[in-house]
Every structure is written in structure tokens, then in C-alpha cells.
């Protein structure tokens, strides 16, 4: 059926494009490992100088940025996941007046870009809520945009749950709360994990919100730290590359281990970005 030539063509095209995807990434890793005192240029190799990472960590403040990012991401992902599970459960398995309308309001949130709400958010945070320059100013909006996707995602999952399972739990006299946590959620692990990794990636990589809300260098998240750093030291190539690797690495590590979850999530209509 399939000719050898066509198969070779398939491998070749896949290989070429994989190389295109990989080369810039490899380039920045090599750059980060170059001799900091030598003549640095993108993508060349002159030995393995891991000291760039510790310099970026200590002197260029990436340790602080990373800690801030971890804190924000942990709070956002855990709270948003919890709220999404609860809301998705109700939308998926219960009927109440106005539930359809309410759900479509959440869906609307899936398409609202940060750019549309950032201006009022800035003035509210600064003037009414007095939260500007606090972690709350990034955590709260990030949770809010995350639950739009999370609710949509968990609802889809709960609707796929076999009805008999829920009915059996009810016949046994289980409350809706018990049914959710003891009966349904143990089965929902893959769906929850997929949601959590996507929310983690979006939170970790968020830029505009932090750029607008945080002015104190000590409270910046990792991507913003990199942006500030590159504004200051455009000449220090090795350090900037090391910083870039530090910023990208946590998500890449999660991705390498859980890539099936990432891809599944991104491909099933995850419209958020």
C-alpha cells in the first residue's frame, strides 16, 4: 500500500521541521553555557560554563523572580482548579434555572483577551481596591480568567461521566458533595491534571498583567524579570541566555513529563492563550 519513497518523504519532512523547531532552543541553551568572559555569540559552543546560571540566579535576581512566579502559580492553579471543579460539576451534572445562560457567560470569558480588561483593572486595583503592586493584583485576575477555561473544561468532563455512577451514589444516599469528592473526582485525575498543567503554563507565561500591575522589581514574576533584565543588559548575551533558560525551564520540564496532557488540552478547543 504505502511506498517506501512516501514513507521516507514523511520522515524527512517531519525531521526537517523538528529541526527547525529545535534549533533556536538548542541555540539559546548553548549560548547560556558559553564562557562569560569570552566573545559570546548566539548558538556557538566554547565549553560548558554553568557559572552563568548561578550568576543569573544571584546577581541578576532570577532566584527572586522564580520564587515569585512559583508562589503566584501555586496559588492561581490550586484556587482556580478548585473553583473550576465545583462550577464544572454543577454545570455538567445538575439542572438549575438559568444554568445554560450562566454557562454561556463563562464561555464569553474564554474569548476575552487580557487587553480588553487591563485598562479598568489597572484603575480599580490602583484606586478602589488599593492592590496595585501586590501579588493579589496579578493573582485575582489570573484566577478569574482561568476559571472561564477551567469551568468549560470540567463541565465537558463531568458530562462524559457515566450516569449510572452518579445514580448509584445517589441511591446509596450520598450527598452531592460526597459524590463529587469520593466518587467522581478519583476518576477525573487525568482531566484535572490536563487543566492544571494548562493553567500553570498560562499563569507562568503571563506578561501584560504583571507588566501593568507590578512596579516593584522584587515582586516581578520570571518573564517580567527577563524583560527588565534584557532592557538593562542587552550586551551580556550569556547571562541573558541563562536567564531565558531559567524562565522557560519549569514549564518545559512539566511539558516533557506530561506532554500528552498539554497536547490534549491545547487541541481540544482551548481558546485561551
Amino acid at each position: 500500500m504505502t511506498s517506501r519513497a512516501e514513507q521516507t518523504l514523511g520522515y524527512t519532512i517531519l525531521g526537517v521541521f523538528s529541526l527547525i523547531a529545535l534549533l533556536p532552543v538548542a541555540g539559546i541553551v548553548f549560548t547560556a553555557l558559553q564562557d562569560p568572559d569570552g566573545f559570546a555569540s548566539f548558538g556557538s559552543i566554547d565549553g560548558l560554563h554553568f557559572s552563568n546560571f548561578s550568576t543569573a540566579w544571584d546577581e541578576a535576581n532570577f532566584g527572586t523572580y522564580l520564587r515569585n512566579s512559583v508562589f503566584v502559580a501555586v496559588v492561581v492553579v490550586s484556587v482556580a482548579s478548585l473553583l473550576s471543579i465545583l462550577a464544572g460539576y454543577a454545570f455538567g451534572l445538575m439542572r438549575f434555572r438559568g444554568s445554560t445562560l450562566l454557562f454561556y457567560v463563562f464561555l464569553l470569558g474564554l474569548m476575552v483577551p487580557m487587553e480588553a480588561i487591563i485598562v479598568p483593572l489597572y484603575y480599580e486595583m490602583r484606586d478602589s481596591w488599593q492592590l496595585q503592586n501586590t501579588y493579589w493584583s496579578i493573582i485575582l485576575p489570573q484566577i478569574a480568567t482561568s476559571v472561564a477555561f477551567g469551568t468549560f473544561w470540567m463541565r465537558t468532563y463531568f458530562r462524559s461521566v457515566p450516569r449510572s455512577l452518579v445514580e448509584a451514589a445517589r441511591l446509596d444516599g450520598a450527598s452531592s458533595w460526597f459524590t463529587l469528592w469520593r466518587v467522581l473526582l478519583p476518576l477525573a485525575k487525568p482531566a484535572v491534571l490536563t487543566m492544571a498543567v494548562l493553567l500553570f503554563m498560562w499563569t507562568w507565561n503571563e506578561f501584560l498583567l504583571v507588566l501593568v500591575m507590578i512596579t516593584d522589581d522584587g515582586k516581578l514574576t520570571a518573564p517580567l524579570g527577563l524583560s527588565v533584565f534584557q532592557g538593562r543588559n542587552t550586551s551580556d548575551l550569556t547571562l541573558m541566555a541563562a536567564g531565558s533558560v531559567i524562565v522557560a525551564l519549569p514549564v518545559v520540564i512539566v511539558y516533557v513529563f506530561l506532554q500528552r496532557h498539554f497536547i490534549r488540552g491545547m487541541l481540544s478547543g482551548a481558546v485561551k492563550g
Binding site: A90, M111, P223, I263, S268
Partner: protein, 312 residues
């Protein structure tokens, strides 16, 4: 993989109405409100309320200082989208970037899907992991990385071209090269998404359709047009929706690589929102651009999914 559900879900997202029999299966339960309440409260405070406020802001002219008065301009900020030179070019650039962010990646994806339809290739999962990698790297890192590649003095691209005796260029500093150069970064980020989505779609097309086409004497090209392309409609719609929305939301890439420059040659709507609101004291106008962007995103996802629905 749940690719099968994707077009349906995306269509539902866009069209705002479920298909028949879509009612939640459960019994009526008032407790449902309690479960939805926490999520809705946060969502209402930090998305819905600001969105409504943005609509309100967009009808005024205001410089952002609490002490200075705002002037009612009605839809004036919206007509500016069509008349203001800077805004017009921002939206025009977004349109051009669509070619790089959406059309090119999908064409590359289709090329591969066409080949895959006939060749059974093993190890797809491995390639998939690599091809998807650019998606997960923070846009800031992508931008910093490509700035190094495009660097006119010492950049990898100019050095590479130098091997062939081609003179290097100032990719991001040149008025006519800057926008396509930014666009190609988008192509690099999103072609993997398109390829993975479309090759997965191809594997769901029944082999009998290909056999039938071959019996009818169709060559590889006819076969692609008659079987592969129609079979991929849903996946193409999803890929187009996703990449289009990403293209329209493109802020960090432009902010880091070019700041909209040189001149206004790479400015985009998302960048205009930021620069008008926080740099040039045109708060109302910034809000109007943000709202317009949202409307465009709505309209595009709605249209794409309607078209995909009708043709399937």
C-alpha cells in the same frame, strides 16, 4: 486524544447555543448555585465587571489622571479605529500577521498531513513532542531568543547567510523587513500546533475513502483535494481559530522585539492598548481598541466555526 470533540466544542463556544439534547443530564438541584457561586464571583469581579467598565471607558476621552475631567466622545474612539493613522496601521498589521501566524502554519501542516495520509510513519509521538515545544516556551523567552538570532551585528541568521555570501540585514530595524520578521517568529511558534492537529486528523479519515479514490485512478494531488482536505475541515477550523486568536492577542512578542517600531511599522492592536493607556494618556481610546479586539475575536471564531459546521 480528544481531537474529535474539538470542532464541536469550539463551535459551541463560538455560536453560543448548544445542539439539541445538550441539557445537563442531572436532576434539578438548587444546590447547583452554591457550586457555581465561588467561581462566578471571582469571574464577575475580575473579568465581567472590568469588561463592562471598559465599554464605559471607551466612550470617554480621559488622560488617566484622577483630578482631570473626562470628556464624553460617544463612539468617537471607535471611529478612530478606522480614521486614526496609527490605529489603522495597527489593525492592518494584525491582518498581515494572520498570514504568518495562521495561514502559513496551516499550509505547512497541510503539506505534512497530505504526506502522512499516504505514508504510515512510526514514532509520531516523538516528533509531536518536539514540534509542540515552541508552544510551551514563554513568549518573552521566544522573543529574547529571536532577537539574538535576528541581531544585525552578531546574530545567528546573518552569520548563516554570510556562509553563502549573502549580505546581512537589520531584520527588526528595517521598515519593510520588521513586520515579516516578527511574523516569522509567530510561524515558528505555531506551525507545530497546526501540524500536530492536522496529522492527528488525517489518521481519523477512513482508509476506505483512500482506497476508493485510488480505484478511481486519483493521483496523490487529486487524492489530497478529494479526500484529505474535506476530511480535515473540522481540524482546519480549530487550527484557524486558535492561531487567529493568538495572532490578535500578540502583545509580548512585539513589546520585547520591536516596541512597535521602527516608526509604527510593527505596531499591533494589543500593543496600542498598552501604549495608549500607560504611555500616551489616551485611556478611552485604549479601552476602545481592547473592546474592538474582543469583538473581532468573537466574530472570527463565530464565523470560522459556522463555516466548518455547515460544510461538515
Amino acid at each position: 486524544m480528544t481531537v474529535a470533540a474539538a470542532p464541536l466544542e469550539a463551535a459551541e463556544t463560538a455560536s453560543g447555543k448548544g445542539s439539541p439534547g445538550e441539557r445537563p443530564p442531572g436532576e434539578p438541584r438548587l444546590v447547583g448555585y452554591l457550586y457555581v457561586l465561588p467561581a462566578f464571583a471571582v469571574f464577575a469581579c475580575f473579568v465581567l465587571y472590568p469588561l463592562a467598565e471598559a465599554l464605559w471607558y471607551s466612550l470617554w476621552e480621559w488622560n488617566g489622571l484622577p483630578s482631570s475631567p473626562a470628556t464624553w466622545v460617544g463612539l468617537g474612539n471607535y471611529t478612530d479605529v478606522f480614521t486614526d493613522e496609527e490605529l489603522r496601521s495597527a489593525f492592518l498589521h494584525a491582518l498581515i500577521l494572520l498570514v504568518f501566524y495562521a495561514v502559513l502554519p496551516i499550509l505547512i501542516g497541510l503539506l505534512l498531513a497530505g504526506v502522512m495520509a499516504r505514508a504510515q510513519v512510526r514514532g509520531l509521538a516523538f516528533f509531536r513532542t518536539i514540534l509542540f515545544l515552541p508552544q510551551v516556551i514563554a513568549m518573552v523567552v521566544v522573543a529574547v531568543m529571536w532577537k539574538m538570532i535576528y541581531d544585525p551585528e552578531n546574530g545567528a541568521l546573518n552569520r548563516f547567510l554570510g556562509w553563502f555570501g549573502i549580505e546581512g540585514k537589520s531584520w527588526l530595524g528595517d521598515f519593510s523587513l520588521a513586520l515579516p520578521s516578527v511574523g516569522l517568529i509567530g510561524t515558528w511558534v505555531y506551525f507545530g500546533l497546526a501540524m500536530v492537529l492536522l496529522t492527528a486528523g488525517v489518521q481519523k479519515i477512513p482508509p476506505s475513502l483512500y482506497d476508493a479514490a485510488r480505484v478511481d485512478g486519483a493521483g496523490p494531488f487529486r487524492e489530497f483535494l478529494a479526500v484529505t482536505l474535506p476530511g480535515l475541515r473540522g481540524e482546519i477550523a480549530v487550527a484557524l481559530t486558535l492561531t487567529t486568536i493568538y495572532a490578535l492577542r500578540n502583545f509580548d512578542l512585539v513589546y520585547i522585539t520591536t516596541q512597535g517600531g521602527p516608526g509604527d511599522s510593527t505596531t499591533v492592536p494589543a500593543f496600542q492598548v498598552f501604549s495608549r493607556a500607560f504611555e500616551s494618556s489616551q485611556v478611552g481610546s485604549a479601552a476602545a481598541v481592547g473592546v474592538t479586539l474582543t469583538l473581532v475575536i468573537f466574530l472570527i471564531s463565530f464565523t470560522i466555526n459556522r463555516v466548518a459546521e455547515r460544510s461538515s
